[in-house]
């Protein structure tokens, strides 16, 4: 045996890890934001009665959900340029994760939409609101409250998926960790510190979601 833990090398490059973590968070934030817009539109598509809207939405969700995200990441970065769509590493990954989160969030939003009683829409119609006004003023805010718990776990799992960007050399936390590992050979220390950073960040995200949940809770 005789492996003695020595974190000195890791601490020396700790700034790189923090920069990597910052990039991981930025990737997650950007992708989820775009993904939420895609997901919301898709969710309305999924519950639509019009087959021309419903079917493409369903196809999109099932293709994305049945493909491993690593394959999607590699496909976008290596295969799409062959068809003339050449994106930078970061853009390529955000594009992929946005599409990916869009499909997962669509399912979360869909469940939230179905939980809203039809009578509220009718009450909106009865005072003369248009379908669009009903969606923005009544359905979306209520749905958002309903889905907060599952939205939180989806966000955390999407944040963790940013580690796959290492596969296309995006310098986020996992990539930086691997770099330090290769340079210092402190295998246990580097991956231990990286794991702790992920756990720490996810706990913060979970705590933030709980605060949002509490603040938006309806008085009764």
């Amino acid at each position: 045996m005789g492996y003695t833990l020595n974190f000195a090398a890791v601490w020396r490059s700790f700034d790189d890890l923090l920069l990597g973590l910052a990039l991981s968070l930025a990737l997650a934030f950007g992708s989820i934001l775009i993904g939420a817009v895609i997901g919301l539109c898709t969710a309305f598509g999924l519950i639509s009665k019009n087959g021309l809207i419903k079917r493409p939405a369903g196809v999109y969700v099932s293709i994305i959900r049945n493909t491993p995200i690593l394959v999607l990441v590699l496909f976008t970065y290596f295969a799409l340029p062959q068809w003339g769509l050449r994106l930078g590493k970061i853009e390529s990954f955000v594009f992929t994760l946005a599409l990916y989160s869009g499909a997962y969030l669509a399912e979360v939003f869909r469940a939230g939409l179905l939980s809203i009683p039809a009578g509220l829409r009718e009450a909106g119609l009865a005072i003369g609101l248009t379908e669009m006004q009903i969606r923005t003023s009544i359905i979306a805010p209520l749905m958002f409250r309903n889905i907060l718990p599952s939205l939180g776990s989806t966000i955390i799992s999407l944040f963790k998926d940013t580690s796959l960007a290492a596969a296309i050399a995006v310098p986020e936390l996992t990539f930086e960790t691997r770099k330090i590992n290769v340079e210092t050979f402190r295998v246990i220390e580097t991956w231990m510190v990286a794991s702790c950073l992920y756990v720490f960040t996810c706990s913060i995200l979970a705590a933030l979601m709980r605060i949002v949940e509490r603040r938006l809770a309806l008085p009764r």
């Binding site: 009683p117 009865a126 003369g128 609101l129 003023s137």
Partner: protein, 256 residues
């Protein structure tokens, strides 16, 4: 100006194969208070919901102030009007529902303000003033900032009535508004409706409260199997029913 506020002619409505309205004719004048009674499944709620296009109908016509609701003839073809136009026409009527349907994420006053701001395009201060005035009229000014979850069923229904009537509709539709309430809360809601009736509001009520229908309406319609079975003033209807069906229905209902 046409004489009749509401004019329903030969209204037909089916769900798939099942015909629920089989040619209903009905008219109302400004200031009329009309109660629709009848056993469940007779089509009374469906008729009410056709008037503000919450239900589509396949035949006949409905007009309010001479304005044809929901459908238009284009080149000999009957066509549903554009959504914007239907939304505008829906604002001609106000509706109160059995299940109140208040927006749970908005306080009482915001429930009432929503239509004023989004549909009538009033600025928020003006909308708030009108909303508070109507909450006061239904006796809930003190609860203006309460959320639906903090109000009793009776209070929620009164807010819902304020929300509908604040839009200044030509006609109020009440769809079994006391059916979901605990018995001790029914009266406060009926009292509000009675006050509105005395103020001259035109209304059409679907109700199971026979005593209330008797007291508040100037006309009663008895619906039976998708058709109007009998109609007249409440005194004749309740004391001297012409048809076997109505006599039977009154015997089994709470009116005594």
């Amino acid at each position: 100006m046409p004489d009749n506020l509401l004019e329903i002619r030969n209204l037909h409505k089916s769900y798939g194969e099942v015909e629920v309205l089989k040619g209903v004719d009905c008219s109302m004048k400004q200031g009329d208070v009309v109660s629709i009674i009848g056993s469940s499944g007779s089509g009374k709620t469906t008729m009410l919901r056709c008037i503000n296009m919450l239900e589509e109908f396949q035949g006949g016509s409905i007009s309010i102030d001479g304005q044809e609701i929901g459908y238009e003839m284009v080149g000999g073809q009957r066509r549903r009007k554009k959504e914007k136009e239907i939304a505008r026409q829906r604002a001609l009527t106000g509706m109160a529902f059995q299940q109140f349907n208040l927006f749970p994420h908005m306080s009482a006053v915001h429930n009432v303000m929503l239509g004023l701001v989004k549909v009538k395009k009033l600025d928020r201060d003006e909308a708030r003033t009108i909303a508070l005035k109507w909450l006061d009229r239904v006796g809930l000014l003190a609860r203006a900032d309460h959320f639906p979850g903090q109000l009793s069923g009776g209070q929620q229904q009164r807010v819902a009535i304020a929300r509908a009537i604040a839009m200044n509709p030509r006609l109020m539709l009440f769809d079994e508004v006391t059916s979901a309430l605990d018995p001790e809360l029914v009266n406060e809601v009926l009292q509000v409706i009675k006050t509105l009736a005395q103020d001259g509001m035109s209304m059409l009520l679907v109700t199971h409260e026979m005593r209330f229908a008797y007291e508040v309406s100037n006309r009663v319609i008895f619906m039976n199997q998708g058709l109007i079975g009998e109609e007249g003033n409440p005194r004749d209807m309740f004391h001297k029913p012409q048809s076997e069906r109505l006599a039977e229905f009154l015997k089994t209902s709470s009116f005594s």
